[in-house]
């Protein structure tokens, strides 16, 4: 009631105020001309007669918290003055949107819920400027986006759409990694198979003993491939395949190091990934170690291909400098057939668990 008294005593000092209530319950009053700059508030006042007193404060949408409200009111307070020049308004806007990205997003959301279109335009322009020209990794970092697409999904829309040489390099890199993994997996399987000689028929054994004594390594490879193929036919979902799946997730290490979370994720990642891998395996086995880049490369001539190969090798080496060694270590514990858990120290460096520590 004291406000009413004051109104009687000093009418010339009373401006009209609008009462606003944010989602957290706090109520404040704002000069009328400032608040009415927001269409949503304007609507509430005119159509519904709200906001004239504390009891009838206008409830603002949930996306408007007190901090954002104060920013928005600053904006309104400046722009609702009619006499300002365009230059003044522009330079105010430039200074106004200088804030961290998180607040910028919150502000966009709040301005949109109040239907304040000029501010939404301003903030979306600022956000677009932030996104423009950056790589996906940088954008994820800035906006804290989860990197939850599988590799195949990432590659799908990119193939051919933008024809970026970087994308092509990426594709080749992934393909190389897969190939490397297959190689290692084969090596591992050879070790494993030593225990399961029984699977082969006698004829096979004989033919092997009697067969060509050429390059032992070559023979060994072809033998292991034959064995693998049969094994694969017998058991679709061997643990070897699972291991491949798990390890295949690793090449995503362009932007992150392996960690247990990722590994855990891949198991969950889905059947789609598995079936894709089966196809890939088939390709590799059928094509005898030839890297089938055919469907990934579009019309790269051989000289360029070699150059890109070299670049990819370099790229891979530099990014994952100690990755191959680590994989060897993992694979040498192959008896366990469980994914090895990595963990991150406080300072973020990798520590691998030695086998003995694992249990």
């Amino acid at each position: 009631m004291s406000e009413v008294d004051m109104a009687v005593i000093k009418p010339e000092m009373m401006k009209s105020y609008i009462w606003l209530q944010t989602a957290d319950g706090s109520i404040q009053q704002v000069e009328q001309e400032v608040a009415m700059f927001c269409p949503m508030i304007c609507h509430e006042v005119i159509q519904k007669g709200m906001g004239s007193s504390k009891n009838y404060a206008i409830s603002l949408p949930q996306r408007v918290n007190p901090a954002m409200l104060s920013l928005i009111l600053d904006y309104c307070r400046f722009h609702q003055v009619p006499g300002r020049s365009n230059k003044e308004r522009k330079s105010f806007d430039e200074k106004f949107i200088r804030m961290d990205t998180k607040r910028l997003c919150e502000l966009t959301s709040a301005a949109d819920s109040l239907q304040l279109k000029p501010l939404v335009d301003l903030t979306s322009r600022a956000l677009a400027r932030i996104i423009e020209g950056k790589s996906p990794e940088e954008i994820r970092e800035i906006f804290h986006l989860p990197d939850d697409l599988t590799e195949e999904e990432k590659l799908e829309p990119l193939k051919n759409t933008t024809d970026d040489p970087r994308i092509r390099l990426l594709n080749r890199l992934y393909a190389k990694k897969r190939k490397e993994l297959k190689e290692r997996q084969k090596l591992k399987n050879i070790e494993v198979e030593e225990e399961r000689v029984d699977d082969r028929s006698v004829d096979d054994l004989l033919s092997f003993i009697n067969g060509d004594n050429g390059d032992s390594k070559g023979i060994k490879n072809s033998k292991s491939k034959k064995k693998n193929r049969r094994r694969k036919d017998q058991q679709k979902n061997t643990s070897a395949n699972e291991a491949i799946k798990n390890h295949n997730k690793e090449p995503n290490g362009l932007n992150q190091v392996c960690c247990s979370a990722e590994v855990g994720q891949t198991v969950r990642a889905g059947v789609g990934a598995t079936s894709n891998l089966h196809d890939v395996e088939d390709d590799i086995f059928d094509n005898k170690n030839e890297l089938d880049d055919g469907d990934i490369d579009d019309e790269i001539d051989p000289a360029l291909k070699e150059k890109i190969d070299r670049e990819v090798e370099d790229f891979a080496r530099r990014l994952n400098s100690d990755w191959p060694e680590r994989m060897q270590e993992i694979l040498s514990f192959g008896h366990e057939r469980k994914p090895v858990h990595f963990s991150l120290n406080g300072n973020g460096s990798l520590r691998r668990y030695a086998n003995s520590e694992q249990r």
Binding site: T108, E132, E137, N160, T162
Partner: protein, 432 residues
């Protein structure tokens, strides 16, 4: 220097904490489209690899712009560029999944290939509102007839095209803005096009072939900008027209026309422009207006005319007469711009001062700002400036910019001497 692998601190399982930090993915759809629409198409499409939520956000943006930023290289090999562009646009249109409201195609190396036909077909099925098609090189491109089926079209902009709508074409009911530059169109088609778009508010026509007599019948037209070669222009039913800029790019010969047609072009021009606010008479259009009978003043004053710009040859008597008639007919003029057309010097300098003959003091009652440029300091130019300065009581600024440095000093000395009716007048001299 090796590439640093970013190591993230806590585990990056998509957890509640991530959802709290990720403020952008859950913004309302229309806001996301605003953000994505402001990115070049490359960056917008690449947002599909950011995260699961972002996979298909780009596919719904209502605005697709394919311009020079599409390809980040340029090449002399025409077919290489074409293949790349066609590839990109085909893919984007195929993967796009939502209404398309704006489509712009403007790459400097893209010729008018038939692939454009199928893109236009694709967008015409999608309630398109704005189409901008700029073919920078090569022959005039003929848009397919499906373009003329886009009844939701609000803005159409064509550059280097040949317009031949199908016979059944009944106009664009919602078209508000039409911008045709470097186009070929026949007389009938043009007239029909303009008159069958009842909502038309803005019309731009530059460098056209095939139309000689411009007849503009557009009841809602507010903005009209034309530059080209034509013989005649007439406005029917254009009461709302408030901005007109006309440039006639060819010099016409007065003597030829005088014998045939004594009617006043000036009168005919202004009879249907009662509310004109800004008028720009460019190139040789003043000569056109000066043809036929020129009254001392228009019967209906242009009371709304605030801004006038005239390209004039101060040595030409007819043009001066026409200009004077105009100046007398706009009592509320606020800004005036006179651009001298550099003609060959007339063999004799007129000894009389054309502008001295006028003693109507109410001529420039509200005139505040004047720019005169391209003058060379000859008598006819300076006579006008003298006349202007002594008849504009509220003038605030006169800017003078000569065509060349020749005779600069003389010009400035004369300028200095002129009497000024306004005590506030600043005379600013700009270097040529």
């Amino acid at each position: 220097m090796s590439i640093v692998i970013k190591q993230r601190e806590p585990s990056r399982l998509p957890s509640k904490t991530d959802a709290e930090f990720d403020r952008i993915s859950n913004l309302p759809g229309h806001v996301i489209y605003q953000i994505l629409s402001r990115l070049p198409i490359r960056d917008a499409v690449r947002s599909s690899v950011l995260s699961r939520k972002w996979r298909y956000k780009w596919a719904k943006i209502p605005c697709l712009v394919f311009d020079n930023h599409c390809l980040n290289f340029s090449s002399q090999d025409q077919s290489f560029i074409k293949n790349k562009l066609v590839n990109i646009i085909d893919h984007v249109l195929l993967l796009h999944n939502g209404p398309i409201h704006k489509f712009k195609l403007s790459h400097r190396d893209l010729l008018g290939v038939t692939d454009i036909d199928r893109w236009i077909l694709c967008i015409s099925r999608s309630s398109i509102k704005e189409v901008v098609l700029e073919i920078w090189k090569g022959q005039r491109y003929k848009p397919p007839s499906c373009l003329f089926n886009c009844q939701n079209l609000v803005h159409l902009e064509l550059f280097n095209c040949l317009l031949e709508p199908p016979l059944m074409f009944k106009g664009f009911k919602n078209l508000k803005s039409l911008d045709l530059q470097h186009i070929t169109i026949t007389q009938d088609v043009f007239e029909k096009l303009v008159s069958s778009c009842p909502s038309l508010e803005r019309l731009t026509l530059m460098n056209f072939t095939g139309v000689t007599h411009l007849v503009i019948d557009a009841p809602n037209l507010q903005f009209f900008d034309i530059g080209g070669i034509f013989e005649d222009v007439s406005f029917l039913n254009t009461v709302h027209l408030s901005y007109v800029s006309i440039g006639l790019y060819v010099n016409i010969d007065n003597e030829e026309n005088d014998a045939r047609d004594n009617s006043s072009k000036l009168l005919r021009f202004f009879v249907n422009l009662p509310h004109i606010r800004r008028l720009e008479i460019q190139s040789y259009f003043l000569k056109y207006l000066a043809m036929g009978y020129v009254p001392s003043r228009l019967p209906n004053l242009c009371v709304d005319l605030n801004h006038l710009s005239i390209r004039i040859d101060f040595d030409d008597l007819e043009e001066n007469t026409a200009a004077l008639c105009l100046l007398r007919s706009c009592p509320n003029l606020l800004e005036l711009e006179m651009l001298a057309r550099p003609e060959e010097q007339s063999s004799m300098e007129r000894s009389t001062n054309f502008w001295e003959e006028d003693h109507w003091s109410s001529l420039f009652a509200h005139l505040r700002l004047v720019k005169v440029s391209g003058i060379s300091g000859v008598k006819s130019d300076m006579d006008f400036i003298k006349f202007l300065l002594s008849n504009s009581p509220v003038l605030e600024q006169l800017t003078v910019k000569p065509a060349s440095q020749e005779g600069e000093w003389e010009l400035m000395k004369e300028l200095l001497r002129f009497r000024r009716a306004s005590i506030y007048a600043e005379v600013i001299y700009l270097d040529p």
